[in-house]
């Protein structure tokens, strides 16, 4: 019994590792920079983390069914380019649905290859990562693409004192949360992630669910592009480049497992804030910009390591015993 307790303790520790990391980071940055622990900066962090949060929510859907989507950064750039080049004259009521359709279509291509031919998701999305970015670079001729004034205005505007970006993130989070926890579809996503074979036997349409989550992920990437592009005002050739890293890191730091079946919306938002806090803190410290990718990769590594440990521990606790003492 005491052995079991120590295991449960380690599991708890692993579970709260991201929170502990967050507290430590805040303390460290706060001690090193007097500007870090201010309300204005906190607001700043929240606003900056919105696009990662929205994309991480989408990634959560994919990770829940044991998939992964590496192409989100390219979708982001493709959408920003299309928005700047072809949708600058239309109202947001037209352009926002349009980019969501583009996202869904991109996701559908990923999904068709993954579910139809059973190719590993990482290889499909790695290929579409390059195809998407190549296509977008072709459209933009590798030049800077400026966003229309309406889009830029959206980036600056507030509603009840809260930036639009945060409102959008709240809406996305609410819709995602309701979908995952309050609909049969959402609960079935969790079942598919826990055990695809059993889910199939229980009459769940595994293929259809897998298909749909990749579409959702790409739609979220498109919304992330809208948010980010409105904040930055333009898309350079490196817009969204390697953005899959913070997005996956955010989801996994938020407790979503790479092995499927566990995770949620609020965790991913927390993960996005954690990732953004790190970048923000490094800026505050005037750290060498070359350090950013190093720090980011260490964080994603920790997230994946914790996830791997946690799975092993849970498996051991879950393992069926043959000999049962009555």
């Amino acid at each position: 019994m005491s052995r079991l307790d120590s295991r449960t303790l380690v599991l708890m520790l692993l579970r709260f590792a991201p929170l502990i990391l967050f507290a430590l980071l805040c303390l460290a940055f706060g001690a090193l920079s007097d500007r870090f622990l201010s309300l204005a900066n906190f607001r700043n962090i929240l606003t900056q983390s919105t696009h990662v949060a929205v994309m991480a929510i989408g990634m959560t859907f994919v990770l829940l069914v044991r998939g992964v989507d590496l192409s989100v950064g390219s979708v982001m750039y493709l959408v920003a380019v299309v928005m700047g080049l072809y949708l600058s004259d239309v109202s947001l009521f037209v352009s926002i649905p349009a980019i969501m359709v583009i996202g869904a279509a991109f996701g559908a291509i990923n999904a068709a290859l993954i579910t139809g031919l059973r190719i590993a998701p990482f290889i499909v999305t790695l290929a579409t990562l390059f195809i998407g970015r190549g296509l977008a670079l072709y459209l933009s001729e590798t030049k800077m693409v400026f966003q229309s004034d309406t889009v830029q205005a959206l980036g600056r505007a507030s509603f009840f004192g809260v930036p639009w970006a945060i409102w959008i993130a709240i809406v996305v989070a609410a819709v995602a949360w309701i979908t995952l926890t309050q609909t049969p579809y959402g609960r079935q996503i969790y079942a598919v992630g826990a055990d695809p074979d059993s889910a199939g036997k229980a009459g769940i349409r595994v293929q259809a669910i897998t298909f749909s989550v990749f579409c959702i992920c790409s739609v979220c990437a498109a919304i992330g592009a809208l948010i980010s592009a409105s904040q930055v005002g333009a898309a350079s050739a490196t817009f969204g480049y390697q953005e899959e890293f913070p997005v996956i890191a955010a989801a996994v730091l938020g407790g979503t497992s790479l092995f499927g079946g566990r995770g949620g919306v609020f965790g991913s938002i927390f993960g996005a804030v954690l990732v953004q806090t790190t970048s923000n803190g490094l800026v505050m410290l005037n750290a060498n910009p070359y350090l950013y990718p190093l720090v980011n990769s260490v964080i994603i590594f920790i997230a994946a390591w914790v996830d791997g440990r946690r799975r092993l521990m849970t498996e051991r606790i879950e393992q069926r015993k043959i000999r049962i003492e009555a």
């Binding site: 309701i178 309050q182 969790y190 826990a194 055990d195 036997k201 079946g261 879950e318 049962i324």
Partner: protein, 502 residues
């Protein structure tokens, strides 16, 4: 109350030309419990899988309340009111109890909207859980429930689908005594509600206690049928094992029994797996290991070969003590291990026969610091040993193992270990899923090895096979050794009782 619910007649089924069901038929009234017993491979699972929509029949009729039915998948069966609770539960540990119960028919908020009505869900789940007297909050994740309660959740699931017939396949293998009592009480309650039950179990005492009627299957035929009063455990065992299959086993000289111990196992224990297992295996001896699924026999084999850990005890080969978790060391000391999962653990299905055969012997058959191989010599060695066990294939270096029959595949696994000339060979269910002719050949190969002085640990769930082959039989149950039987006093019924009784 007691109208006829299920009538099965003239059911036939064969796999790859082997007939596994012959003219099976029985009846079941609602509110009754039918016990279905028989050895592994007697046709119980096949019959139930046809009923539960997992398999289709070749011929015969299944009538449910007077209507002909032929479910083609488990959803169909459920819609007809047939719920099948498998030995391996199909619950999702990351979802709550209520969600598992209603996973494919959630109550919805307002008509047609895709939102779960949480309140209705909770109420209906509570109602279902009350029916089976399971006092857990419906929102508890299944992960937190012990095995026994998970089983009850499966029953609750069946009840919410208005099941008229619930099939239990070995429901008590992973339950404690108390949990088993509770299950029986609930089955009694279901019966009172007019639900018919088919109860499959190896534990004959339970069957006699619980069931109104009993059907005994052997070799795909019904060999006994009647009310509980007609049966005793002795009679059930006699019916199950039959008496007519002695000639299936090749002759062999019994072991002298004076050789030194090749393998000594002393008080090996691992919590939750095996407890205080001790035995000696002599050179030239074949020790049979009998036990039900989940008795710890396969787990013991994995521990002996260094694949799984053990917390206490000692395993010695001659004078040498094996270190735990080192299959390489076990192999170097002359051990070989044929696992029960041929496809998953025994073979590389996509690789050629030759590549499979030489895999465990590569290091010994290589030379130099880079462990250089001589493909020609290796190929010749593989051909020789394949010929010795008569693998039936033309070009063993080009034929993929995947294309072979089950019996031939098993011969490849045997060949790959024979190439190492092992002194101690652990065989876990070596004849599972292969046809009678191939079985006979496998028996002959094993006999040759014993005659050559090797020590064999023969694990099998078919008692007949052990009686026909072994010098001694060790019976296991719930991870412990229940007793030994010498060849001179082999007694099917005594052995089966030792394995079955708790």
């Amino acid at each position: 109350m007691s109208e006829l619910l299920l009538k099965i007649s003239g059911l036939n089924k064969s796999f790859f030309g082997v007939q596994v069901l012959r003219d099976v038929g029985f009846e079941l009234t609602s509110g009754a419990v039918l016990g279905l017993v028989g050895e592994n491979g007697s046709g119980k699972s096949t019959t139930m899988n046809i009923l539960g929509g997992v398999l289709t029949r070749d011929s015969g009729r299944v009538e449910l309340a007077g209507v002909d039915v032929a479910p083609s998948n488990s959803r169909d069966a459920l819609a007809l009111g047939i719920a099948f609770i498998h030995q391996e539960l199909s619950l999702f540990p990351n979802l709550s109890v209520e969600e598992n119960i209603f996973l494919d028919h959630f109550p919805r908020r307002m008509h047609g909207l895709p939102f779960i009505d949480r309140r209705a869900l909770r109420e209906q789940a509570k109602k279902a859980l009350d029916l089976i007297d399971l006092q857990v909050a419906p929102a508890t994740p299944v992960m937190r429930l012990p095995q026994g309660e998970r089983q009850l959740v499966e029953i609750a699931k069946a009840l919410t689908r208005q099941a008229r017939l619930i099939i239990f396949d070995e429901p008590t293998t992973s339950l404690t005594a108390r949990e088993t009592e509770r299950l029986f009480e609930i089955i009694g309650r279901l019966r009172a509600q007019g639900i018919a039950i088919i109860y499959i179990s190896h534990i004959l005492g339970d069957v006699l206690r619980l069931c109104d009627d009993i059907v005994v299957l052997r070799d795909g035929r019904v060999v006994g049928e009647g009310p509980r009063a007609d049966f005793t455990i002795e009679r059930l065992v006699t019916l199950m094992v039959g008496r007519s299959i002695d000639r299936l086993f090749p002759e062999r000289e019994p072991a002298p029994g004076t050789n030194s111990a090749a393998l000594s196992v002393r008080k090996v224990s691992q919590p939750g797996v095996v407890k205080d297992v001790s035995f000696d295996l002599r050179l030239g001896e074949m020790l049979g290991v009998s036990g039900l699924m989940g008795s710890g026999r396969s787990e013991l084999a994995r521990i002996l070969f260094g694949l799984d850990p053990y917390s206490e005890g000692e395993i010695r080969v001659g004078e040498h003590t094996l270190s735990p978790l080192s299959p390489r060391e076990a192999m170097d000391k002359g051990l070989a291990f044929l696992t029960e999962d041929r496809r998953g653990e025994g073979l590389m299905m996509e690789a050629s026969i030759a590549n499979n055969i030489v895999l465990p012997s590569l290091v010994e058959r290589s030379s130099g610091f880079m462990h250089w191989l001589k493909p020609a010599a290796l190929g010749q060695a593989a051909r020789d040993v394949a010929e010795r066990v008569r693998v039936n294939a033309k070009a063993i270096d080009r034929t993929a193992v995947r294309t072979l029959s089950g019996g031939n595949q098993q011969k490849v696994v045997i060949a790959k270990w024979l190439l190492r000339a092992p002194t101690i060979f652990i065989l876990d269910e070596p004849t599972r899923g292969i046809d009678v002719g191939a079985k006979y050949e496998v028996y002959k190969i094993i006999n040759q090895m014993v005659a050559g002085g090797a020590a064999i640990l023969f694990i099998s769930s078919e008692i007949e096979e052990l009686i026909g082959m072994a010098d001694r039989i060790m019976v296991m149950g719930r991870g412990e050794v229940r007793g030994f039987f010498e060849r001179t006093n082999f007694d099917r019924e005594a052995i089966m009782k030792a394995a079955l009784w708790d």
